[in-house]
Point group: C2
DNA sequence: GACAATCAGATTGTCGACAATCTAACAAGA
DNA sequence: TCTTGTTAGATTGTCGACAATCTGATTGTC
């Protein structure tokens, strides 16, 4: 008998679809930080009622990429330099922890997945598709968190990721040019395959440092940027 | 002129009130793990419509203490021994990070707040109010995370806290007796006031160890406990 | 001119009713 | 007996309308 594989069913509820749509719009920078989300307008554009839209927005508020003020509105969060710095320093700690937890459990499947994700980054880089490049790079980094077999860690990292992706998108959009074309993940992948855990941890720290330094500098320049009104 | 103190305004929106009510019910163990939340029944009991109730539930789902299955229902999360273990090990990492970040910023206000919260724990212990004892102990531990001046860390810790509180409540409810009466936080507080950061970090690890070991043992005993139906 | 009161418009919060889906029980057929 | 189809009841998901609140513009008063 042939083993058949099924792809997951498309979103079962409108709410889930809306969440996915909104999240994507926010993370790709389509919706700008500080921008207000008008419920009526969005619900009309999406051809849904406000009920599932509002529920979707509540989810994204808890996810940390929207913020809500009663009777005033729901807004895309504003990204301050401090936010980036906070996320960045916590991310270092989490990465170190994830590598430690993952280390013993690395197996063939892990290495294969590592290569697959690395390849995806390289493909996006070749295509000059910066949005996808950000997505894939974060997925590559996420592997150690998925593999660490700690649900709370994974959840936490995913929350962080949302923000990081937002920051990167904002950053990239602002300079209007591609992220460095040369692949900076080569060493990272190699170390994850190697035998020196400490070295891998150290590199994760420094590598992320590089990505962030530039980002931070840019973010500080944007500080106190005026909001987009409704 | 007399300095007047105002109590916080009652929740501006029904949704917020519902969230607070539900959260409390869950964290105190009033709603058991695995239990299904019937929207119609709850909305009637609270005298509100299902709309704000559903929005509140979405928030708690994202907060991680409820879980939702489309068209099936929303349930209080089930607490497995592994969940506790995961939360516990991540908490160690976060505590260490928080202490490091807080250390340089300790000042008079910090020490005062530390004493205040410590006193609250002792008071709850004297009163044999176990629920409050859990609450205050977690608030004591939360101080370093609040002081670390890292919003993402604080947010993460608060999410962890919800679960820990649930675990503790479950644990405490099951044994039907008070948490150890003698105060185990004395050393912790003293070390946070001292000069040896490493020692404080080490103690945080081991102290939490103590709290958790017992909890873990108990949780493993509950594994695969049957769910409560609707 | 400065300030408070008032009001209209827009937007968010809440409600009750209807539609879609699930579950469990039962019947029909191989 | 096992499987499949059907159905009724309960529950969740969605909708359109109404109520509460905010914003700002306007008016009136000093």
């Amino acid at each position: 008998m042939v083993k058949t594989e099924f792809s997951p069913i498309a979103d079962t509820t409108r709410r889930a679809g809306i969440v996915a749509l909104l999240r994507r719009a926010i993370l790709t920078g389509q919706l700008e930080p500080g921008q207000k989300l008008n419920e009526l307008r969005i619900s009309e554009q999406m051809r849904v009622s406000r009920a599932p839209l509002r529920e979707a927005m509540r989810e994204l508020v808890q996810e940390g990429i929207l913020t809500s003020i009663p009777y005033a509105g729901t807004f895309v969060i504003n990204v301050t330099a401090k936010d980036i710095d906070d996320a960045y320093s916590l991310n270092k700690v989490l990465d170190e922890f994830a590598i430690e937890r993952t280390w013993k459990q690395r197996d063939q499947r892990f290495f294969e997945e590592l290569d697959r994700r690395h390849e995806a980054v390289k493909q996006a880089t070749r295509d000059r598709d910066t949005t996808r490049q950000i997505e894939t790079a974060l997925q590559l980094h996420g592997l150690i968190h998925e593999w660490a077999d700690n649900s709370v860690l994974l959840e936490t990292w995913q929350r962080l990721t949302s923000r990081l992706q937002m920051y990167f998108a904002l950053h990239q959009q602002a300079r209007k040019e591609a992220v460095p074309a040369e692949d900076i993940h080569e060493t990272y992948v190699a170390l994850l395959k190697g035998d020196d855990m400490r070295a891998a941890q150290r590199h994760a720290r420094e590598h992320i440092d590089l990505d962030f330094e530039e980002l931070l500098a840019h973010a500080r320049g944007l500080e106190r940027r005026p909001l987009k009104g409704a």
